[in-house]
């Protein structure tokens, strides 16, 4: 897969294409101050997502992974850059300018699943109302057709028999069941693209595996392209064919998941991997080579974002701009002067 910075060469095959996406949030510098600073939450992120592919976006809190996901489904407007989405006629179009019917079509085909199944549902609405709401908004089908479709979707996500769930309220369900409802709500529109933002991080291990398997199964069966956002590399290993590692608004490494985990190239990816505890008391891990913690990218200096914490950075990294995400061989992309 060839993905380059700028307009991707493989764009015509992609389902979704992020082109130099950026989001900057102003931070007020005090009363009556006019010159403002900006948090560069996402800063020049480009990638392609193929139909049916699961791309993982991993990184620590504040790295911009959620903001990127929200921009892809137009819940957050980008400051710069474009999101191209394959429309019904198979052409990539810029979602920023969609209005009316084409926007509605996009809303139907791009869905999002949120992290917290306790917060993402209206407690006063039944499961049927929750899952049928998008159908209602899109004016799809009459009541009995909606009923049919909601029931089908509920059994698809493993809430069987659907009749025993339709008229219950969120508080009557467990966390795992609620997350299944959230997935059903996204799938009831038969989307081609789903952004899943940490859909399993609030769930217990014994429940989590079931949800992970369900999402994998549905991706295979329905050919949905997922952007899977997670902080957990072990979960990404099981969910994603490719991963992109983000640090302070930038993708620092991207490639085949197993490849990246076995042979990380970027020093940040290496550090992140070495920090993950292993469920084996006999295993030993190398001591970590990086220090400090993630800072907010407020008006970052024109140098590598990882410079302050990098164990291998030198004067070149200090004096030159953030390195481009470039091919380091065998399809691996990394943004590092030294790698």
């Amino acid at each position: 897969m060839n993905v380059s910075v700028g307009i991707p060469a493989s764009a015509s095959l992609a389902l979704v294409s992020a082109v130099n996406l950026a989001k900057r949030y102003p931070v007020s510098a005090g009363w009556f101050r006019r010159d403002r600073s900006f948090i560069h939450a996402v800063d020049g992120v480009s990638f392609d997502l193929m139909p049916g592919e699961t791309l993982g976006l991993v990184g620590e809190s504040g790295c911009g992974k959620t903001t990127t996901g929200r921009m892809l489904v137009r819940l957050t407007e980008p400051t710069d850059g474009q999101v191209l989405f394959k429309n019904q006629s198979g052409d990539l179009e810029d979602i920023a300018h969609l209005k009316g019917a084409p926007l509605k079509d996009f809303r139907r085909r791009a869905q999002m699943v949120f992290q917290d199944p306790y917060e993402s549902m209206n407690p006063r609405r039944t499961i049927f109302d929750t899952v049928a709401e998008p159908l209602h908004v899109q004016k799809i089908g009459d009541h009995s057709e909606r009923f049919e479709r909601v029931s089908e979707t509920l059994s698809m996500v493993g809430l069987t028999p659907p009749a025993s769930f339709l008229f219950r309220f969120p508080h009557e369900l467990s966390g795992g069941q609620r997350q299944r409802v959230a997935i059903a709500r996204a799938l009831v529109m038969e989307p081609s693209f789903v952004v899943a933002d940490e859909p399993t991080s609030m769930l217990d291990i014994s429940i989590r595996t079931g949800i992970m398997q369900l999402m994998n199964e549905l991706a295979d069966r329905l050919g949905i392209g997922y952007l899977y956002i997670t902080h957990d590399l072990a979960v990404a290993r099981y969910m994603c064919s490719r991963i992109a590692v983000m640090y302070l608004g930038k993708i620092v490494e991207m490639g085949d998941t197993e490849d990246v985990l076995q042979y990380p190239v970027h020093p940040y990816t290496k550090a992140l991997l070495s920090a993950v505890p292993v469920p084996d008391p006999e295993a030993t891990r190398d001591a970590l080579s990086i220090k400090g913690s993630v800072s907010a990218p407020v008006d970052p200096l024109p140098r590598c974002r990882f410079y302050d914490r990098c164990p291998i950075a030198d004067d070149y990294c200090r004096d030159n701009d953030h390195p481009p995400l470039e091919d380091k061989g065998a399809g691996r992309l990394a943004a590092c002067h030294k790698a």
Binding site: E60, S61, S174, G175, G176, Q177, D204, I205, S206, I207, R208, T209, G210, M212, Q213, H231, D232, L233, A234, V235, R237, Y238, E258, L261, A271, L272, L273, S274, A275, V276, P277, V278, P279, D280, P281, E282, A283, R285, A287, L288, I290, S293, V294
Partner: protein, 325 residues
């Protein structure tokens, strides 16, 4: 490490009385922690692991009832102490580090002053001595001493957790109870803090109870591990033993459901069903509705204890190699 126990918990039962019925949050738990040892309690939400922490510290809400059992810390049974006597023990002999580091610090006081307050309350030291002690503690947990005079909101999440650990160490307790202390932190910060906690625990020869849902963290931090399910310890033993040769099907299922970034990518197995309702526990073994090995006796009778040296589990159908019929 010596084997004289610092803490011995015997048949501890703590129930919550609610309008819907009695919740058996801690239901007959026994274990001992030796000096310098770290015990991990692992389990899923609602298994009672945090309730054990609150019971050991006697920080229980009004609807909680200590039904039976003893908590013997250095020969003193904490269950018999009055609230005033208990207050003297807390921080001094037994202290805690909680998950929500933001809520454990008072936002309107400087962090250093909060630690000094704890020191003075236990007359460990006062005035200039106390300030000196705070400096030592900040050094111990790798916090910049200039932050002594700063407020909690000026700290990052990891720094706040370090400050909480410093506070817990202030009076040199015999045992420290850490309830998911790194769960809200990013993985790199978590790694730093875990390494520091281990180093401190070893250098002070302090005992620790480490509570977590994360099998990987427990594997790294703890010498001994107890697996909890529905208010009971279902398996207990040296960490290496329990992870290499689990006896209880639940422990085995937890391990094979846990994804790892290293090693072979094995298939993750799914545990059917959901954790039980503590108001309405299944008869016999509480795990039987989800257990692949369940037989008739599991559905009706309390499972016996299966002993393998210092490693045990309560199960009718142990899944380790020795457990054949």
């Amino acid at each position: 490490m010596t084997t004289d126990p610092v803490l011995v918990v015997e048949d501890l039962k703590m129930h919550y009385v609610t309008r819907a019925g009695t919740v058996r949050a801690v239901d007959g738990v026994s274990f001992a922690v030796a000096r310098g040892q770290s015990l991990g309690l692992v389990g899923e939400s609602g298994c009672g692991k945090s309730s054990i922490a609150m019971t050991l510290l006697k920080l229980l809400p009004d609807n909680a009832r200590l039904v039976s059992g003893s908590i013997i810390l250095n020969g003193v049974d904490l269950t018999t102490l009055s609230e005033d006597q208990m207050r003297a023990h807390r921080w001094d002999r037994i202290s805690m580090v909680f998950q929500a580091a933001m809520n454990s610090l008072d936002p309107v006081y400087r962090v250093g002053d909060q630690i000094i307050e704890a020191l003075e309350a236990h007359s460990a030291s006062a005035g200039r001595d106390a300030m000196e002690r705070v400096r030592e503690l900040f050094d111990l947990v790798s916090l910049d001493p200039t932050y002594i005079r700063r407020y909690p909101h000026e700290y990052s999440g990891g720094m706040r957790q370090r400050a909480i650990i410093a506070m817990a160490l202030a009076c040199e307790p015999d045992i420290i109870i850490a309830d998911e202390p790194t769960t809200a932190l990013d993985v790199i910060v978590q790694d730093h803090i875990l390494r520091e906690m281990q180093a401190i625990q070893r250098s002070l020869n302090m005992s620790m109870i480490y509570i977590s849902h994360d099998m990987a963290v427990i594997a790294e931090v703890c010498d001994v591990v107890g697996v909890m399910y529905a208010g009971k310890l279902v398996e207990f033993g040296p960490t290496t033993e329990v992870y290499a040769r689990p006896i209880h099907p639940y422990t085995k299922a937890l391990m094979s459901a846990f994804p790892s970034v290293r090693g072979e990518k094995h298939d993750l197995t799914t545990l059917p069903g959901e954790p039980p309702d503590l108001l309405d526990l299944p008869a016999g073994c509480a795990f039987h509705p989800r257990c692949a090995y369940a037989t008739d006796e599991c559905r009706t009778s309390i499972p016996p204890t299966v002993q393998r040296g210092d490693h045990w589990a309560t199960c009718w159908n142990p899944v380790d190699d020795l457990g054949g019929e």
